[in-house]
């Protein structure tokens, strides 16, 4: 899995949980909350959807790692790769 794949995973989830948002120009290095109308419940949605759709667990202590697309990719890529290696 690549960083770009992980970013797409996150954007796909955000498209569903925040359907009013324009995601065509999300800056990967800027905090998602600073450029989109997302609140703490929305981040719980992202965590839930990663669990439901991809079997990825994000412990509460790691929630800050989901701050931006870049940080998501950095955090999630090894997890996706670990899952892929198991299957």
């Amino acid at each position: 899995m690549t960083n770009e794949y992980c970013k797409k995973v996150i954007l796909d989830i955000i498209a569903d949980i925040a359907p009013d948002e324009d995601l065509s120009n999300v800056k990967p290095d800027v905090r998602l909350r600073d450029q989109l109308q997302l609140d703490s419940m929305d981040f719980l949605d992202i965590v839930m959807e990663l669990r439901k759709r991809h079997g990825i667990e994000v412990p509460e202590a790691d929630y800050t790692r989901l701050a931006s697309l870049d940080s998501c990719a950095e955090y999630l890529t090894p997890k996706f790769n670990a899952l892929a290696a198991k299957s």
Binding site: I17, Q37, M41, L44, M48, R51, K52
Partner: protein, 422 residues
């Protein structure tokens, strides 16, 4: 000597008036559309696919939630919340309120509900069934979606109203209770504007359909528009519907000061309890409730020009309400018409009382009484004098409307509104 239900003689009651109506019904999304369909005999029942149960008859509303909500708000909130927001916004617009100057801290939101939370709980249980019932997949939105005040709370969020906002649980009497409670709060001076009535999202839970089916009280018919048939000999149960109707209520002085259009004045009301059975109605207590409302309004039965029945098309329930109505209006009421709105829209549960009142309000202007449709073979036990069957009736005068709504666990409510006369 005053009877048990006479209001306390020392109370100086402010006059309360209806100044705005917002609604969504299975056959209309505005009072004008709803009324036109009631006069045209047009029902709003359709087939609905219900989880675990298949295709069933239901009343479904077709308002546009995105008129007043973002897509995210629709996703995060509940159907009852969405219906409430629609109705509240429509009522405020209809009432001529300027959203910029809405007295938000002096506004109360009082919404009647038959039940709330079943839809979301069923959805979550179904969702985690796909994950071997592992509760870590249970939504973090479950609690805010299922708290009993959810519909009122979502409305307060949408409007920025900071006054009291809560729901009133009163089974299928709840729609009337919303208006009654609002009148009381206005008279107490707790608020200056009340947004009140009732809503229901019940068609989105299979449980209510399954429950009525287990009771032998779920309507079956090959033709949806013919399914809800109170008073007809072939009636076979309830058509479950969703819907909502919220009003703006104000003290008369406030309404006059802002030049508001006044639909009607709250004349009186009665609320009591059967204290006799979980589900079976009690005609003695129902009649008592009706008499209580008439006395509260300072009227006599003959002064009531329209009686809108609660009848849901169950075999026993219709007969028992007719028995109650006959005992009050059976003799000496030549100007009293009787009708039923559920024959068009099914049973909108917590919204029923509020919606059914709205369907009759225009009678003050057009002097027409909408009928009870689908009565092909009138049950003799339901043959009340003044019952308007299948086509509208023209009334000599309509100065008062009495609206019955009764609910499980024996909660009864009767609301009377009257033509506004300065």
């Amino acid at each position: 000597m005053a009877s048990d239900f006479h209001p306390k003689p020392h109370m100086n009651l402010a006059r309360i008036v209806i100044t705005g109506v917002g609604l969504t019904a299975p056959n209309g999304n505005s009072l004008q559309e709803f009324r036109a369909n009631l006069l045209a005999g047009k029902a709003g029942i359709e087939w609905l696919d219900v989880r675990y149960m298949g295709r069933l008859l239901a009343g479904v509303c077709h308002y546009d939630p995105l008129k007043y909500q973002t897509r995210k708000e629709v996703r995060v909130g509940t159907r009852a919340g969405s219906i409430s927001i629609w109705c509240a916004r429509e009522a405020l617009a209809d009432g001529g309120f300027d959203m910029a100057s809405l007295p938000r801290s002096r506004t109360g939101i009082y919404i009647g509900c038959t039940e709330h939370g079943n839809v979301e709980t069923e959805n979550e249980i179904y969702a985690i069934s796909k994950f071997n019932y592992d509760t870590k997949y249970w939504s973090h939105y479950h609690n805010p979606r299922t708290v009993a005040n959810n519909p009122a709370g979502e409305t307060s969020l949408s409007l920025g109203v900071t006054g009291p906002a809560y729901t009133i649980g009163a089974a299928c009497a709840a729609g009337n209770l919303g208006l009654i409670h609002a009148s009381q709060m206005l008279r107490l001076g707790e608020v200056d504007l009340a947004i009140c009535g009732g809503v229901s999202e019940s068609i989105h839970t299979f449980g209510i359909f399954a429950g009525f089916k287990s009771q032998g009280a779920l309507a079956v018919n090959d033709v949806p528009a013919k399914a809800s048939r109170p008073f007809d000999r072939a009636r076979n149960g309830i058509v479950v519907s969703e819907g909502g109707c919220l009003y703006t209520l104000e003290r008369l002085d406030d309404a006059l000061a802002r030049g508001a259009r006044i639909y009607a004045e709250i004349a009186g009301y009665g609320v009591n309890s059967d204290a006799s059975d979980y589900v079976l109605p009690n005609p003695t207590r129902q009649a008592e409730c009706v008499r209580k409302s008439i006395e509260h309004a300072g009227l006599k039965p003959a002064d009531i020009h329209i009686v809108n029945t609660h009848a849901t098309a169950t075999t026993l329930g219709d007969i028992q309400e007719c028995e109650a109505i006959r005992s009050v209006f059976g003799q000496g009421c030549p100007e009293t018409f009787i009708n039923n709105t559920k024959s068009f829209i099914g049973h909108c549960m917590g919204a029923a009382g509020a919606l059914e009142l709205a369907g009759n309000l225009p009678s003050f202007d057009d002097l027409v009484v909408h009928p009870t449709i689908n009565v092909d073979d009138l049950d003799p036990a339901c043959a009340l004098p003044g019952l308007v069957l299948n086509t509208p009736a023209r009334a000599g005068r309509v100065d008062t409307i009495l609206n019955n709504s009764f609910g499980m666990l024996g909660i009864n409510s009767t609301l009377i509104v009257k033509r506004f006369v300065a």
